[in-house]
């Protein structure tokens, strides 16, 4: 199982900056992880005291892991085909996602739109805040210290390592989700998709394009509708 973006899986890329961790690396091996010990102790104690059952916990984790990019992709595909929905998504995102039967709980969703002049990328420098209600569990690289530190400091270098090069005429806008808001990127609709159905368009929307480390897939990548 790999959480690496596709552009890295086959590429023995050169390490020009030896002192930099790659944004997709999880934590280095060998470090003691007190948090795992703490989690296990807390979990066993809560189950022992009957606060919740082991099966309830298993089902909750299963539900979280079952979420992937499909729901986010459907939301984007609708925004691409329905201008009124797109406007609602950008101005009243909580109301827009309720149409998909979603509620965000205490966190509010904010959708940021990629345009021909602005590219958005999302990070949480403090921890790993992520729109889990929509996208499920974040990939390991999103939670890595390398991604969290470098994205605010050198976003274009990080994007280049994910295979996305953007001209200096475009603005790269980083969103550090430090507080109560969660972010979803609305990627640009790829060219050559006129007349496509929502279902076909949804196949072009990758999880990575919703985080902002990639653009949506091109029609050639999925073989057309």
């Amino acid at each position: 199982m790999s959480d690496l973006p596709n552009s890295f899986q086959d590429d023995p890329h050169e390490h020009r900056h030896h002192h930099h961790d790659h944004p997709h690396d999880p934590e280095p091996p060998g470090l003691p992880d007190d948090s795992l010990v703490l989690e296990r102790a807390l979990r066993e104690l809560l189950i022992e005291k009957g606060v919740f059952g082991a099966d309830e916990l298993r089902a909750a984790v299963e539900a979280m892991e079952a979420r992937g990019e499909a729901l986010g992709a459907r939301i984007v595909a609708r925004a691409w085909t329905d201008p009124a929905f797109e406007a609602l998504l950008l101005n009243s995102p909580m109301e827009a996602i309720s149409a998909f039967g979603l509620t965000m709980g205490v966190n509010e969703l904010h959708v940021v739109e990629n345009t021909n002049s602005v590219h958005n990328i999302v990070v949480c420098t403090l921890c790993s805040c992520y729109p889990r209600t929509i996208l499920g569990i974040p990939p390991a690289w999103y939670k890595s210290r390398a991604y969290r530190a470098r994205t605010v400091r050198e976003p274009r270098a990080v994007l280049a390592e994910f295979g996305l090069l953007l001209p200096d005429t475009m603005e790269v806008r980083v969103h550090d989700s430090t507080a109560d808001l969660r972010y979803l990127v609305l990627p640009r609709r790829p060219e050559g998709t006129d007349g496509w159905s929502e279902e076909a368009l949804a196949l072009l929307v990758s999880r990575d394009s919703l985080i902002g480390v990639a653009e949506a897939r091109r029609p050639s990548a999925v073989g057309g509708p």
């Binding site: 509010e108 420098t125 403090l126 605010v152 400091r153 050198e154 976003p155 274009r156 270098a157 200096d168 005429t169 475009m170 603005e171 790269v172 806008r173 980083v174 969103h175 550090d176 989700s177 430090t178 507080a179 109560d180 808001l181």
Partner: protein
């Protein structure tokens, strides 16, 4: 009532604060612009210690030029920006700021 409005220039304070805080170090003493008044939220600095988090605090989305945050060593376009949310008690009007 919120102290700041969209378009206001504000500076992130650098006051010493023990305990939980959600204002990262890299944005301290930087000046940016309010792009959105995000609303009133329970104070996470109090919630972290079991308090109710009341009175709530107003949260602002601020936009900073990356060049203003990192200086000349920022290796990107001059137009690049960073958006970050900061609670009201961490902000002061840019005009009042003492460098």
């Amino acid at each position: 009532m919120s102290r700041f409005a969209v378009g206001d220039r504000v500076r992130v304070r650098d006051h010493v604060h023990t305990g939980h805080r959600r204002t990262p170090l890299y944005i301290r003493r930087r000046t940016g612009e309010v792009v959105r008044v995000a609303g009133c939220f329970l104070n996470p600095e109090q919630l972290a210690y079991g308090s109710t988090g009341l009175p709530g605090v107003t949260l602002y989305r601020l936009r900073f030029a990356q060049r203003a945050v990192w200086g000349d060593s920022y290796a990107g376009a001059d137009a690049d920006t960073i958006d970050i949310e900061v609670y009201e008690h961490w902000l002061e009007p840019a005009a009042e700021a003492v460098t």
